[in-house]
């Protein structure tokens, strides 16, 4: 059994509504925005007990996982969670004798590192008399699938991901990271998904390949893991996608020759796999009558590019015949255009939407 595990959950005000439906706790601080506006937090606060569910997930899915028999759970709410927020859930085994054990859990803000909840639990192990695979997220039943299908979005907290979520509104479902890949933040059924838009990607590096201290770790983080997650996104489409559903991979002009003097080498290397991956997945997903397309963008305003200096911003604007950077909502509109491309032959390809920018 692993001794550590972690996953990230993105919560929205709707998460508090979902929890209220499950628990019956409709306290207005958690469910009524107008009421919450009159409190110190100004917005709805997530139920503290929501954390208990995350700790349960840590126990039943990871530490110890399938064989878990949860004995008890202790929680200390250090700070309120005011959605939207990305919660990083980190578990660490502090004792395990093979029969019983204990785990410490910290739930923090993924972006700021602020501690929300400290937790711990003791577990035993139940026995099962047949071979059975490890615990995996179920294809849970959902009865409110929109007519046009769900659009699953990875990297939903990034600039492009947020814009895609806005674009698709009620049809959009954020994907959350798990140890194995991604899981939808709400239940979806097989054949209910119209598209998976894979925006998730680690922040770019700026370190030369010959200056890396730990090559294996850096390549794993910036190239292998993103590739693995792209394949996980394709599997989600295969398992939950409708006929004709589309996987959209997001490439970057940073992976094109002559670009940026290769100043973000690992990012460029990772993104360079996307066009070929689209070809391969285009072929493989055709078996389930689904599609894969790669869309390559130039520098998108905001998100990972929010911190660029005025000079670099000017430089990128100068490279574009339109004299400006691409807006995230424009990029999301182009993603939607790619998703709506008609017919099965609109697959296996890569389209560069840089507005004609110079390399």
């Amino acid at each position: 059994m692993a001794t550590e595990a972690n996953f990230v959950v993105e919560v929205t005000p709707e998460s508090a509504q979902d929890f209220a439906r499950l628990s019956g706790d409709w306290n207005p601080l958690h469910t009524d925005g107008a009421y919450a506006a009159g409190t110190a937090w100004r917005r709805v606060v997530l139920h503290g007990a929501y954390s208990a569910g995350l700790v349960s997930r840590m126990a039943g899915m990871f530490l110890p996982g399938r064989d878990c028999l949860l004995h008890n759970m202790r929680l200390r709410f250090v700070a309120p969670v005011v959605p939207p927020a990305a919660l990083a859930v980190n578990g660490r085994v502090v004792a395990d004798n093979g029969e019983t054990g204990s785990v410490a859990v910290a739930i923090t803000d993924r972006d700021s590192g602020m501690l929300y909840t400290e937790a711990s639990y003791d577990f035993g192990r139940h026995r099962h008399d047949a071979e059975h695979p490890a615990a995996t997220a179920p294809a849970a039943v959902s009865d409110d699938c929109p007519e046009d299908g769900w659009v699953l979005v990875s990297g939903a907290s990034g600039a492009l991901g947020q814009a895609v979520m806005r674009r698709y509104g009620a049809r959009a479902v954020a994907l959350t990271r798990t140890a194995e890949g991604y899981t939808p933040s709400r239940s979806v059924t097989p054949a209910s998904v119209a598209a998976v838009v894979h925006c998730g990607w680690p922040a770019p590096d700026n370190l030369g390949l010959l200056r890396l201290e730990d090559v294996a770790s850096s390549v794993g983080h910036a190239v292998a893991k993103p590739l693995e997650l792209s394949i996980a996104a394709a599997r989600l489409l295969r398992d939950y996608g409708r006929e004709g559903a589309t996987l959209v991979l997001v490439g970057s002009t940073s992976a094109q020759a002559g670009r940026h003097n290769w100043r973000m080498p690992l990012y460029s290397l990772g993104k360079s796999t996307m066009p070929v991956l689209a070809e391969i997945l285009g072929m493989e997903l055709a078996a389930t009558r689904q599609r894969c397309l790669c869309v390559v963008f130039d520098v998108i305003d905001g998100g990972m590019n929010a911190g660029m200096s005025p000079r670099v911003r000017q430089m990128h604007a100068d490279r574009s015949p339109w004299q400006r950077l691409l807006d995230a909502d424009e990029a999301a509109a182009q993603v939607a255009w790619v998703v709506d491309a008609p017919g099965p032959m609109a697959s296996g390809g890569c389209i560069t939407l840089s507005g004609g920018a110079l390399p």
């Binding site: 000017q314 430089m315 100068d318 004299q323 110079l358």
Partner: protein, 84 residues
């Protein structure tokens, strides 16, 4: 003092562009970019690098070259190099 120096640098850069791009002496260069000025080709970029290095006694490296995309970006690059 810094403002004066900054103004002089900008004046010199503007003249540099006019000379290299063979523009009239009073031609405004504020909006000139590599994309909207047909005379700005690779030879002009090389000439620009040489002129900047000799005029301001600074050294540009490969990463700096990519900032030579407009008069505005070039001004910002040189000012940054000169600590203005």
């Amino acid at each position: 003092m810094t403002a004066d120096k900054s103004a002089r640098v900008r004046h010199d850069i503007d003249d540099m562009f006019r000379e290299i791009l063979e523009l009239p002496a009073d031609h405004p260069v504020d909006g000139v970019t590599v994309l909207n000025e047909p005379r700005w080709d690779s030879l002009a970029t090389v000439s620009l690098i040489a002129a900047i290095e000799s005029t301001f006694a600074i050294k540009l490296d490969g990463a700096d070259y990519e900032s030579l995309t407009s008069v505005a970006a070039t001004r910002m690059l040189v000012e940054e190099k000169l600590g203005l």
